[in-house]
């Protein structure tokens, strides 16, 4: 038993599957144990569509609120945004854009990575 730092990545678009919200539920769940694990959330590939500001987030709002209250920010990979022609002005408030090198650093720093 021990506290772990967990990186949760999202690679699926927020349409066509339930990974985007059930992955957030899992991210909240990881923080719920007695070990008080810490979590980073990173959107990669088609997962960055979740960062768009006009997205309907009603089904994931409570998980986002819990993560936010825990100090977890949503990070989106810059290269994935660029390749999909998404500008930073298209993103929801609070989404942090990081480059691929910084994303790799998150992977290196994490004790484990969970992919959704």
């Amino acid at each position: 038993m021990g506290q772990r730092h967990v990186l949760v990545t999202f690679n699926h678009a927020p349409y066509g599957s339930i990974f985007y919200t059930e992955g957030l539920r899992a991210a909240v769940g990881v923080t719920s144990g007695i070990d008080e694990h810490t979590v980073d959330v990173l959107y990669l590939g088609d997962g960055v569509y979740f960062a768009l500001k006009d997205l309907d987030r009603r089904d994931s709002a409570k998980y986002l609120a819990t993560l936010s209250a825990s100090g977890v920010s949503l990070k989106a990979e810059k290269e994935a945004l660029q390749s999909r022609d998404i500008s930073e002005s298209d993103l929801a408030e609070g989404v942090e854009v990081i480059g691929r090198e910084e994303a790799l650093a998150l992977v290196r720093q994490a004790d484990m990575t969970i992919d959704f």
Partner: protein, 117 residues
Amino acid sequence: MATIGILLTGGPFQFENWETAVDIGDAALAKGHRVKYFLYLDGVYNPIRHQSFPDLDVMPRDRISELVDKGAEIVACGVCVNARGLQGGKDYVEGVRVGGLPDFAEIVGEVDRLVTL
């Protein structure tokens, strides 16, 4: 001896994630390691005892029973179980426990490596 965690989100009869998850666990147990599974999303369909499919010689539930017999710990997400009408896992093979995400958090704290499938 290491402890390996496996998060399985894939169900049976459509994708092969379950079989990969079982093979990894089986190999780890054979080498004396401990294995802990958390079944999430459609992964909770894998241990149902009433499975039947003519093109498969061995059902997922049989492989899972073998893992239990060999000492694997297998926990299914209760919200996912009930969302799919599985009624608390009443039709699961012996040894598979229905729990919740706090169990997954515990697994995260206990394992040396976590594999997501």
